[in-house]
Symmetry: C2
Subunit: 202 residues, 2 copies
DNA sequence: GTATTTGCTTGACGATGTCTAGATGCGGCA
DNA sequence: TGCCGCATCTAGACATCGTCAAGCAAATAC
């Protein structure tokens, strides 16, 4: 009885810490994610999280890794529904922005190098790299360079930058009312921008 | 006389606090900017800054405001050197990225809404808005909408997003080695991306 | 010449991340 | 069965942080 509780309790505690972290982040932003509050919410002492994670950054790295996995899923499943390369490209950008709008705090976390130094967390880094390869594969054939081993990434970076900048500006409220108030309105407007962009790259 | 000394002394402390804040930020990132360390470096007690700024955010707002002024200057002077609309557009994007690479921490600060809520700082907000109007004016004539009072901002947002995304991804190291190691290399590569983008909008 | 304001200091409070040092209970081994 | 070691977790302490409150000296106002 106690054994069972304890054994399953281990995973419970670790999972509970992660769940509490995600909750806190989504409720009050990245700044609200404190070790002690996480522990409090997970119902353990303020030091218990240090048994499962080396420090605060290790928790963030795990959350960021999960974020990259989700972003990958968003993009891949959107691409799967598209037929030609142009629509794949567009669907990818739309999925990118949609993910950002649906998971603003995780998105911020994923793209702030001072929050998580990915080079210190190979697992999360691998998940990130897998993400970054999606546009390369979708757009790869469009590279103007004949050298396959060293393709010209310019179009890939331009596309990715557009989607990333749009997502970021939306998230940080820098586009004001130009793109609407609700998430739905903004997503539609964002898709218009992406469509405009894609139009010019056919 | 005394009045004059006092007045300049007052400004000294205020200016010293701002200078120390900027230094700290540039040395150790946004996280290194603490009220107490700022005060220490400015040679005053830990409470002195509260005479000039309501709280930490007020200092950040002032720094962000200065950042927007600089970004405006970067863009406007770059545009001034260009002749036609296409080169203006390109010069603007290049200036945007150059500013970000030259002032990474201020750039981060400027575009993180949880750091500075611009709606609470009208001065900084005005400086930001003036910045955001630059692309509108440069690209304004290209709007497809005939309605001048409500022009179609899609091309403006696409252009801005591209530059912003590129700057952000570069700053956060998400483009890895694809664009070189040094700031100079990255700036050149970034300009290539911007050129590619502009090419398609002629 | 006293009262008020300005500019700054000192001290305190609660909160945080993390180090160190226990406590508690389990599995393996004698 | 009894002991050891390890995993899991708690509790306490420390330095640091942002900021509130109170005080003090000098300049200014009346």
């Amino acid at each position: 009885m106690t054994t069972l509780t304890r054994a399953s309790g281990k995973d419970d505690v670790r999972a509970g810490i992660l769940r509490a972290s995600l909750e806190l982040m989504n409720e009050g932003g990245l700044g609200a994610l404190s070790m002690r509050e996480v522990a409090r919410r997970a119902g353990v002492s303020h030091q218990a999280p240090y048994h499962y994670f080396q420090d605060r950054e290790a928790i963030l790295a795990e959350l960021a890794g999960e974020g990259f996995e989700q972003l990958y899923d968003y993009m891949v499943s959107a691409i799967g529904l598209a037929r030609d390369r142009a629509s794949k490209n567009r669907a990818m950008g739309e999925a990118y922005v949609r993910f950002a709008l649906n998971n603003p705090e995780v998105f911020r976390l994923m793209f702030r190098c001072e929050m998580v130094d990915l080079s210190r967390y190979p697992d999360a880094k691998a998940k990130a790299d897998r993400c970054f390869n999606v546009p390369v594969e979708v757009l790869g054939a469009s590279g103007t360079s004949a050298d396959k081993s060293n393709p010209d990434l310019t179009p890939v970076i331009a596309t990715w930058s557009m989607a990333h900048g749009l997502a970021t500006l939306l998230l940080e409220g820098k586009l004001g009312q130009s793109l609407g108030e609700t998430n739905d309105q903004r997503e539609i407007a964002a898709n218009r921008v992406i469509a405009f962009f894609s139009e010019h790259f056919k």
